[in-house]
Symmetry: C2
Subunit: 359 residues, 2 copies
Amino acid sequence: METGGRAGGRVTLATVASALGVSRATVSNAYNHPERLSPRLRSRVLRTAGELGYAGPDPLAATLSRGRVNALGLVYEDPMSFAFSDPAAVLFLQGVSEVCEREDLALVLISGGPGSAVARVALVDGVICYCDIPVDGKLAAIVERGLPFVVVDGPQVPGAGHVGIEDRAGAAAAARHLIDLGHTRLGVVALPLVDDEWEGTADLDRQDRARYRASRERLLGYQDAVGAAGLGWSAVPVEERSPYGRDAGRRAAAALLARRPRPTALLAMSDELALGAMAAAADAGLSVPGDVAIVGFDDVPAAADAHPALTTVRQPHREKGRRAAELLLRRGSPGPAGDEHRLPVELVVRASTGPPPGR
Amino acid sequence: METGGRAGGRVTLATVASALGVSRATVSNAYNHPERLSPRLRSRVLRTAGELGYAGPDPLAATLSRGRVNALGLVYEDPMSFAFSDPAAVLFLQGVSEVCEREDLALVLISGGPGSAVARVALVDGVICYCDIPVDGKLAAIVERGLPFVVVDGPQVPGAGHVGIEDRAGAAAAARHLIDLGHTRLGVVALPLVDDEWEGTADLDRQDRARYRASRERLLGYQDAVGAAGLGWSAVPVEERSPYGRDAGRRAAAALLARRPRPTALLAMSDELALGAMAAAADAGLSVPGDVAIVGFDDVPAAADAHPALTTVRQPHREKGRRAAELLLRRGSPGPAGDEHRLPVELVVRASTGPPPGR
DNA sequence: GGCGACTACTAAACCGGTTCAAAGACGGCG
DNA sequence: CGCCGTCTTTGAACCGGTTTAGTAGTCGCC
């Protein structure tokens, strides 16, 4: 299908140049450096180009010489449609896109993780990995390509920028809050610890093998608080479901709430999981926080709108997105200083937590 | 900052070739056409490449020769962060991204509309315009570039694909539903009609100038039903607020509900607007549907979760996204057949509508 | 009238690959 | 032994521009 070209081959800069009897450099200049051209010739060039149906320098070819694509990649591990249904990811995307707009950059969404076929060939100046990078084993395509990149929430990778939050401290604050309220029987609604789609109660061994950095750190945070309170960590059930959405939280919480003695408080590793847990409590005819207290992690908008409003650990999702994008843009300039950002979190106490029943 | 290159210039295919004393074609073949090479030489090439720190053919250069970028652009008119907070847009994005993943394509988000600087240079094989294209006046950069493109919900553009829904029929069904229930005093909570950020009651003249195709069609649909019922359209106030989010709905509805006599039913052009209108009703101490009936448009997930659940016009957002992407991929093959898709809508009656008070 | 400074434009190298026709090596076959 | 087909590998053109060094031509000035 004809998309602008002429029958006898495509109209290129050279076509225009020879039609006018000028050099290609001149035509190029007419578009990119008007001041290097007499106004008269420039307008002749532009007019002829118009008549020939020349749409201006091909951005791809221009990019090849200039070396800059003006696009920023965002790598996600799961299908992108998951990202769009995860409110935390959406907030993060908003932060990234704000910077892209300000800098006139396109935002290239790359799914399938840093080793995918798309990641191998995507035309970008740099990449934000909104996922874990497998530090062990085979390197990711992104790394191999030598593209500047920033890892968000994942592990620190040599040579890459990093943006994260105080996962461990935040999780500890959440657990401490429950413990301070008097809870002693806790349960954890966990994000996936390993990318094997496994479901069940994660024992200490599996907890130890946790691959996802955020999951691991939050688990450690809970553990810190439980340990500090003199409660035994091994008595705290950690329920893992896959994938990481609201339904997973519902199912994990259902399992926890079916235990006897029943936990009086649930620590959810994300708000989506927590909201699922609230649904599970309702399913079981339990009141929140009367029968069971629930605390989330993220503070997405839905947390404040929930009934009861969700106690959670607030993290600055949009800011994380902005920082990641800005960090990536600064890459290329010297000085590894400021290549790591660890953003603070804050416990937000709302209505979903209270003292345990009978206290 | 060094990102993979050597001090003495970047490592290219030519570097590897001369290091081995073979031609560049051979090195290229080692990556792209292994079968054209003796296994022995191929492994030599790959090994040397590894030693030299060559990351494989540069995708950008490869693209230039091959002519295909393997990326699909999505143009949005407002800031992308708006798109991410619009549930309908998010569903649409999910549909598009599903196809991208299946086809191993990157999804390039382009904000600022089809004439923006980013649209002018974005490296994509084709573009989906999730926004109106200004058919009059200056052509969009996308059109000028001769890229294949598909317009969604917008006007039909010669040479472009098109995906839309039965806006007019859907809107008419919504209005008819209210009229059948006995409502005679209606009000419209409108999406922006013109891109001038104007706010107020849109008179017939402004309604006539409505630039956004979906807004215009829905307005016509309402008008169809009102006219068919023998009610006067000019008596129906159309409140316009900007931008198009929940807060706009709340403010527009507040203005409508402050009128005397008060409308007994509100037609909202989107679910977000309708949800805002429900908030406005609550603000005014009115019950829904007891004092005022509300019907939306879109059927986003939040519509079913609302209290009361929202009566609305369902449209297949994800399917629209999938269709748009697939249509774009098919472009380039002959036959304009099937270049236009108009998807059906369906009135979904829930709890937010009922008979007018005192009837 | 000669010198230097500008201005306007061009030639050629370069960006980093892909591709295709053709050349060379090699083995099989009559 | 000579001819031919097959398998490897290569040279050169090509993708569509950008850029830098340099060349005419013009002007001002002493």
